[in-house]
């Protein structure tokens, strides 16, 4: 069966209404398996040859991972001038959607524990393989119907060493503007000290802030200013005062300690393995996905966010 006929597209779920988007995400029915899946349709005509190379590397990387908290791709098919990447359907969308709902503060902390711990599992796996994800943020953390938390957005991942975690990289990520908020200062610095996989831990800390408070300490600042603050080392003070001044939600002390461990300068920053032993996570009593199940009935699956037909 040709891939074009195999999938029945149901609904566009990337939430953008611009009809010229080169990448769209759809729910679809896979007639071969009968399953509901998600398909990312990438228009290659809007991509340069270098982008095709990046896409190839991303798919190859994802294909080399097998972990319950890391996204998998079923298939990457060329259809016309598009590539259709088929993957499991994460019906609750990204963690940003999930945390946008009305939840009680103590429940929110439980939810944070679960989500962050799952991402940490994924990071332990990736770092062990010599990969740095380099783009950890709320948007790249997906939630499935049964509450599974899954890390996606692998296009900026880089592999530095197959065997050792003590590598140092220097190259800057291309097309990183929309990730500057989450990026570790040493990743942005591009100096001779370089960076290593601990950049992901910094970003995890920023993601924790993003999800916990529903916004980021730099929300209305221009990208260049954020960049400068990070390079000048004053971003820490900003994050600190943001947390101090946001008094409408209060978390336990161990949450703030966790953030501290993530935002330390890279030599003192905790590794993924160390962070997994942090007291913040000690309080997870049920380690399975039941935690999330309790909240999911409150949340809306994204397929309910109807996009009217006129939009695309």
């Amino acid at each position: 069966m040709t891939d074009a006929k195999r999938y029945k597209f149901l609904e566009r779920i990337d939430g953008k209404d611009n009809s010229n988007n080169s990448t769209t995400v759809w729910t679809a029915e896979d007639s071969k398996s009968g399953n509901m899946i998600a398909i990312k349709r990438i228009n290659l005509e809007n991509k340069c040859i270098k982008d095709l190379e990046i896409l190839r590397n991303e798919i190859a990387a994802v294909r080399s991972f097998k972990h319950p908290n890391i996204i998998c791709y079923y298939d990457a098919a060329t259809v016309g001038n598009e590539t259709w990447l088929s993957m499991p359907y994460y019906s609750y969308g990204s963690s940003v959607n999930l945390f946008a709902m009305d939840i009680l503060p103590n429940q929110k902390e439980l939810l944070l524990m679960h989500v962050l711990r799952s991402v940490l599992n994924a990071l332990i796996y990736l770092h062990e393989l010599g990969y740095a994800h380099r783009d950890i943020k709320g948007k790249n953390i997906l939630i499935s119907a049964n509450g599974n938390v899954c890390l996606s957005g692998m296009d900026k991942a880089t592999k530095k060493s197959t065997f050792k975690q003590d590598w140092v990289a220097h190259e800057f990520i291309e097309r990183a503007a929309d990730s500057v908020v989450w990026a570790a200062p040493e990743l942005l610095a591009q100096d001779i000290h370089g960076y290593n996989c601990k950049v992901d831990i910094y970003s995890l800390g920023m993601t924790a802030v993003e999800l916990a408070y529903g916004r980021i300490p730099f929300d209305d600042m221009p990208v260049t200013q954020i960049l400068l603050e990070k390079l000048n080392g004053i971003s820490h003070a900003r994050i600190h005062s943001f947390i101090q001044n946001t008094t409408d939600v209060v978390f336990s002390n161990s949450f703030y300690q966790l953030l501290d461990s993530c935002f330390k300068s890279d030599s003192d920053r905790w590794s993924a393995v160390q962070l997994a032993t942090h007291p913040f996570f000690k309080r997870i009593k049920i380690t399975n996905e039941d935690i999330l199940q309790e909240f999911l009935h409150l949340a809306k699956p994204i397929s309910e966010f109807k996009v009217s037909e006129g939009d695309y």
Binding site: T2, L44, E45, L55, R56, R63, K66, D75, A76, D166
Partner: protein
Amino acid sequence: MPLFGSKQKSPYELVRISRDALATIIKEGSGKKAEKATDEIGKQLVAMKNILCGVGDQEPQTEQVAQLAQEIYNFDLLLFLVNHLHRLEFEAKKDVVQIFNILLRRQIGTRSPTVEYVRSKNEILFTLIQGYENSDIALNCGIILRECVKYDILAKFILSSDAFYQFFTYVELSAFDVASDAFSTFKDLLTKHKTLCAEFIEKNYDKLFEHYVKLLTSENYVTKRQSLKLLGEILLDHHNFSSMTKYVGNTENLKLIMNLLKDKSRNIQFEAFHVFKVFVANPNKAKPIIDILFKNKEKLLTFLPKFQTDRTDDEQFMDEKSYLITEITKLQKP
């Protein structure tokens, strides 16, 4: 480390156990025994990887590495692992890739013993190439193949075998990841070792371009675009001067490229431009080529000034375009 007994296995034991386990997997196919053997081989591969890479901060020990390599050659383990790669577990497949590639890079003085070994067991290369037909192992095989192709004797061997022509099928597969991986290996084969590649292209010109034209007219968008770009690169590489001269002297080629200039995809038009310019810039154009260009002179002079005018930030393209317009304007009735 386990508490009791089981001191580290010697390289000989690791390799022998792996071979025995593989034999069991092949014999049993599936079932309990095969599963157990699959587990077993997975463990041995991890142990071998640890010897080759060192564990934690420990550097690999030269003597152990040498012993292991020797046993692997003696038992033909690489050959067996590659032949039965599809039977191994997910992580074990990746370990095979790592072990293979580390061994390939191993040097004794100026010798690369693993490269010599692979060359002597050419079945390995054929099996790896065929790996592109099985999506479960295609990318694993691709990583090993690209490492092999870095060595000119292995690249030369593949180029001189019929197996090379299988790539023309693989790069057209509809699986984007597999086809792109195959294309990347294909490109390395045709460009990595300049003198070797130039010689190959020149000697096999007819057969090669007979196949290549299928890529340029492929239904597969990615194949068409990438192969057109690669064609431009090959023609503009001065090592390939004589093949380039031959290519741009052929009217069929010119017609094909002129048609691609009008392709519905802007990117394909753009890549076609970079091939078309070689025809026009050639100072010693053959008469039939001049005939065609002259016959289309007016059309081209209307077409080119309007061609992708929004690429103003690409100065080289703008310069080349105006150069082509000047050259075509100068064309006289032959």
